[in-house]
């Protein structure tokens, strides 16, 4: 204290008395605040808060790299460090003295910037001022480490300017500080996410947008702190008091070590989170749920109450009494509630165009929180099979979920969709808007059997998917809407090759003829259901013999009627699971409605023509669902979320309801979403039974007599952990 405080004081005074440093510390940031505030914020506090997170991050980084770097370089050039070297002041004292001065000046900058955000733009973030300030200083310290190193390894101000720019601009452009990250190809995003600025921005954003921090916040915090510590270590290693001194060999080794430390931090963070999670599971080893009633995935258990023992994420016993060894275990009293397995959505498109991907006010975190946490787990769904999403991103999300860092649902990943050149889903507008790269990650076009083999081999070289999804669909010829479809030999080759590689295959169809081919060639699962004709008994018998499973996606077929009729289905259950801006947008009437794309004068005519057609298709679909059930073909529930009106999470409850509308009993519909799903994906999920994963939903009312009561969800148990619904929706 004695030695660095006077240095700190002196440096602060020197800066406050210098017009140049006053300009860079205060005027310069304010110019940005006003410019960004007026241009991007307008009068909307939500946008201002969004901009505020970016500006705080930008200011803290720019100030640090340029300002602090120059400060340190200047005092070395002037011989101040050399002079201090002949005194008892240690290099630690010098660096911490300069750092402390820097933090004081930054605090002033922070107060002024926050003041402008509040007073001029009414951002409404003042109640988090202390947390923001602490974070600002944490970030300033982390950047200081880097600036110290930079100032030590360069000789002159020009060198510093070069180095600082080389660090600043990639952070500015790649980590979401200026260009939203989802505009960029995946490999660039990956680089962006490794940068300390990404962690800083996400952390600032969670504060300005009033999100709870949770485990990820902790990890971002640790990552930022580690950058600071690594930087500081490097700075001590390469500390040069004399402009003429050169770096020694050991110093260079230390420098490289410290830099490596900075760059492996994201990985370190995740492992750290894993250990914390592990620790937590040791600390809370087991407990018992006393349930009023239990639907176990197959049937309603006769007794009440029923005791469910849970240890280490798994169900250990389900019985009418507590076994001997468990008498001391904690009991969670849910005798007033219904307990059933958490559900699975086996047909989903997670990168959905329903979510406004082009709205920059949605950070990637926001979208994931909305889709995966609030939407899925918050609706009682803990397993999701994704079709046609970018598998690399999903593998990353899965890693985060497995580490227990975020309650993302369990993900089954199919990789890109295999289809005919120009076939479904390439006719969708989103593929016209997005880049070639975007399309290649999601859809693979297969022209002939040879191409089928190469495509599968190429895919398998990249990763091993849980499923293969093939589209075999020629569109709707009766409405002159035809699409290219795989040839039969190509379909056959794809299925055979996939089976040879030990993969299971789901085939998208829309007509009876397509169903027949798919069944005949050995598809394990059929996605959707014939809309053109009733399934004949021969085909049903073949399906039975082969054990083919169907995911009929009735709700999305009902959607054609909604879209051409102009009807809306946004209810409160859905609204609570949407981000506030998106909710507001839907409440204002935004969204997708095919009928509204037709000029007003043709609407009645079109409506009549289309309504009759889609009505007929829907009745065929309903009829086919019943045929399948009567023939004993297993059905599973899949929402096809990502389509208009089908929201991630609530969409599956809609699907269960739609199955009942099609003529399936409530118990059968619930089985399709639980036990059948677990059986199909071959995982110990979807049942309340010993040995199964403790994924449960707690409902206030009996869902087995009326599936709409799935909306009376109170709590979700995911991997043995309790989540209150409000907690998931926050």
């Amino acid at each position: 204290m004695r030695s660095w405080w006077p240095l700190t004081r002196m440096m602060v005074m020197s800066s406050l008395r210098s017009r140049v440093s006053l300009f860079f510390a205060f005027a310069f940031p304010l110019i940005f605040v006003f410019a960004f505030g007026y241009i991007f914020g307008g009068d909307d506090p939500a946008r201002i808060r969004f901009v505020a997170a970016q500006l705080f991050t930008m200011i803290v980084i720019a100030n640090g790299l340029f300002g602090l770097g120059n400060l340190l370089l200047m005092i070395r050039q002037k011989g101040v460090l050399r002079r201090l070297y002949t005194t008892p002041m240690s290099k630690h004292a010098v660096l911490s003295g300069v750092l402390a001065a820097w933090l004081l000046i930054n605090s002033l900058t922070f107060v002024i910037v926050l003041g402008v955000f509040e007073a001029v733009f009414h951002a409404g973030i003042a109640h988090r001022a202390i947390a923001l300030w602490v974070l600002f200083l944490l970030c300033a310290s982390a950047i200081a480490g880097i600036a110290f190193v930079l100032a030590s390894i360069v000789e002159r101000p020009e060198g510093l300017a070069m180095g600082a720019n080389a660090l600043f601009f990639p952070m500015l452009f790649l980590s979401g500080l200026s260009i939203p990250m989802f505009f960029m190809p995946e490999w660039l995003q990956r680089i962006g996410r490794v940068m300390p600025s990404y962690a800083m921005l996400e952390f600032f954003r969670s504060l300005t947008e009033n999100r709870p921090l949770g485990m990820m916040g902790m990890i971002y915090g640790i990552a930022i702190a580690l950058v600071g510590i690594g930087g500081y270590m490097a700075a001590v290693a390469v500390y040069r008091w004399d402009p003429q001194q050169r770096l020694g060999k050991t110093q260079k080794v230390q420098l490289v070590t410290a830099l490596a430390l900075i760059f492996v931090i994201p990985r370190v963070g995740i492992s750290l989170g894993q250990s914390v999670q592990q620790l937590r599971s040791w600390l809370t080893p087991r407990y018992i749920i006393a349930a009023g009633h239990v639907f176990d995935g197959d049937r309603v258990l006769p007794d009440s109450p029923i005791y469910i023992g849970i240890q280490d994420e798994r169900i250990v016993f389900v019985s009418a009494s507590v076994p001997d060894g468990w008498r001391s275990a904690r009991i969670r009293d849910l005798r007033d509630a219904w307990v059933m397995p958490a559900m699975a959505d086996l047909h989903a498109h997670l990168e959905s165009p329903v979510i406004p991907v082009f709205d920059p006010t949605f950070s990637e975190e926001d979208r994931l929180r909305h889709d995966l946490i609030a939407g899925y787990v918050g609706s009682g769904i803990t397993t999701v099979r994704s079709f046609g999403d970018d598998f690399k991103r999903l593998l990353e999300l899965r890693e985060i979920a497995e580490a227990g860092l975020r309650p993302y649902p369990r993900l089954l990943i199919s990789g890109p969709i295999l289809t005919a050149p120009g076939g479904h889903p390439l006719e969708l507008p989103v593929f016209q808007w997005m880049s070639e790269e975007f399309r290649k990650r999601r859809v693979v076009e297969v022209a002939d059997p040879d191409a089928a083999r190469t495509a599968l081999q190429a895919l398998l070289r990249e990763f091993r998917p849980d499923w293969i999804k093939i589209v075999y669909d020629a569109g709707d010829p009766t409405m002159f809407h035809t699409l290219p479809r795989l040839s039969r030999p190509t379909l056959q080759t794809l299925i055979q090759e996939a089976h040879r590689a030990g993969l299971r295959v789901a085939v998208h169809i829309s007509k009876l003829e397509e169903l027949r081919d798919a069944v005949l060639f050995g598809a394990d699962m059929i996605e959707h259901i014939p809309l053109d004709a009733p399934i004949d008994d021969v085909t049903l018998a073949e399906m039975q013999r082969r054990g083919t499973i169907v995911c009929p996606t009735v709700f999305v077929i009902e959607g054609f009627r909604r879209q051409w009729g102009g009807m809306r289905i946004v209810d409160d259950f859905i609204r609570q699971r949407l981000l506030p801006p998106l909710r507001a947008r839907l409440d204002r009437g935004g969204g997708f409605r095919r009928i509204e794309m037709i000029p007003e004068q043709y609407r009645p005519w079109i409506r009549d023509r289309m309504s009759a057609h889609v009505e007929q298709q829907l009745q065929t679909a309903y009829d086919n669902v019943k045929r399948l059930v009567n023939a004993g073909i297993p059905l599973v529930a899949g929402s096809d979320a990502g389509n208009p009106d089908v929201y991630h999470g609530p969409g599956l409850i809609h699907e269960v309801e739609a199955l009942v509308r099609a003529g399936v009993t409530p118990l059968q519909a619930l089985r399709a979403a639980t036990a059948e799903a677990g059986h199909v994906v071959n995982m110990p999920i979807g049942r309340v039974r010993p040995g199964y994963v403790a994924d449960l939903v707690i409902l206030a009312q009996d869902p087995t007599t009326d599936v709409r009561r799935l909306r009376t969800l109170r709590e979700v148990v995911y991997r043995g952990r309790f989540y209150a619904v409000e907690q998931l929706l926050r």
Binding site: M13, S18, M74, G79, M89
Partner: protein, 304 residues
């Protein structure tokens, strides 16, 4: 006891061999001068002593320790006033002095004020660094070195750029430091300063010590002869036989002679003049100085 020992010290800057085998021994309680022309290696030597530069060969001991490896132990016992001094702008003398004061918590509490007063900076406390005159800056430079009350004070050209009065003050202060039992090493290229102030002087040229002793001894040994000159208008003198005289020149009334024993020569000269009734006028005596020593040793004038 030797406070500083240099043994065959070598320092190279690329191809320039700045020090080529320096040997020195500096005792406790003395004012030791390093005297040499520009580029002789004075700064290099003292900065190696202070641990600021690394040597390329030879051995260095300060208080028996190697300053390169034992900087931490030595740093509280010695202080270096660097030849060149610059500092952060926009800070006042008071703030700078307070920073250095805080680094030496064990120095006497009135030390800072005493040092400032002795160096004539007491009324400059609120002046910002960049507003100080060159001499004031140099005085601050010296002040910062003395604040910690070190056992060994190393001053690299302390009086360069100072007016005579300030120079005098510094000399007094340095003597005071010696009186307190401390050791002072200073570099200079003022010969008179070395002669007047230093107990011992090492003359350095081209990175080597070419002579080292107390100034009087040096002069006696290497300074050569005293020059005596006068005019006498009337009468004749015969100087050749006087004690110590080695050479005599006469041009009309003006006489010059050189002597190895000025005391005896003058005694005899005045006796002869009185005896012969001759009046001596404009008598001048020039005793040899370090300049002559340098000339003698190197064959060059000190400032060529």
């Amino acid at each position: 006891m030797a406070v500083v020992e240099l043994h065959h010290l070598v320092k190279r800057y690329g191809h320039v061999e700045a020090l080529r085998g320096m040997d020195l021994e500096i005792a406790e309680g003395e004012i030791f001068g390093l005297l040499g022309p520009n580029g002789a290696g004075k700064t290099t030597t003292v900065e190696i002593l202070a641990g600021l530069r690394a040597r390329d060969g030879g051995d260095v001991r300060v208080f028996g320790l190697d300053p390169e490896s034992h900087r931490a132990q030595l740093i509280t016992r010695m202080a270096l006033q660097p030849q060149h001094f610059d500092f952060v702008e926009n800070v006042t003398v008071r703030e700078i002095v307070r920073l250095f004061g805080a680094l030496y918590p064990n120095a006497p509490s009135d030390r800072v004020d005493r040092v400032l007063e002795r160096l004539g900076l007491s009324d400059r406390l609120n002046v910002r660094f960049q507003a100080l005159s060159g001499g004031q800056r140099q005085r601050l430079n010296i002040a910062l070195t003395l604040i910690g009350d070190p056992q060994l004070v190393i001053l690299d050209e302390p009086t360069t750029g100072l007016d005579p009065q300030a120079r005098q003050q510094i000399h007094e202060f340095v003597r005071e430091i010696r009186a307190a039992g401390k050791t002072v090493i200073l570099t200079t290229h003022y010969l008179e300063e070395a002669e007047k102030l230093c107990d011992r002087v090492a003359i350095i040229d081209h990175g080597q010590v070419i002579a080292c002793d107390c100034p009087r001894e040096l002069v006696a040994r290497f300074g050569g002869q005293t020059r005596i000159e006068f005019t006498c208008s009337d009468g004749d003198l015969s100087l050749a036989g006087l004690p110590g005289v080695t050479e005599v020149l006469r041009e009309g009334n003006a006489w010059v002679c050189w002597s190895t024993d000025a005391g005896h020569t003058l005694e005899a000269l005045f006796a002869m003049a009185r005896e012969r009734g001759v009046r001596l006028e404009q008598v001048g005596i020039r005793t040899p100085t370090l300049e002559d020593v340098f000339l003698q040793l190197t064959g060059r004038h000190f400032r060529d």
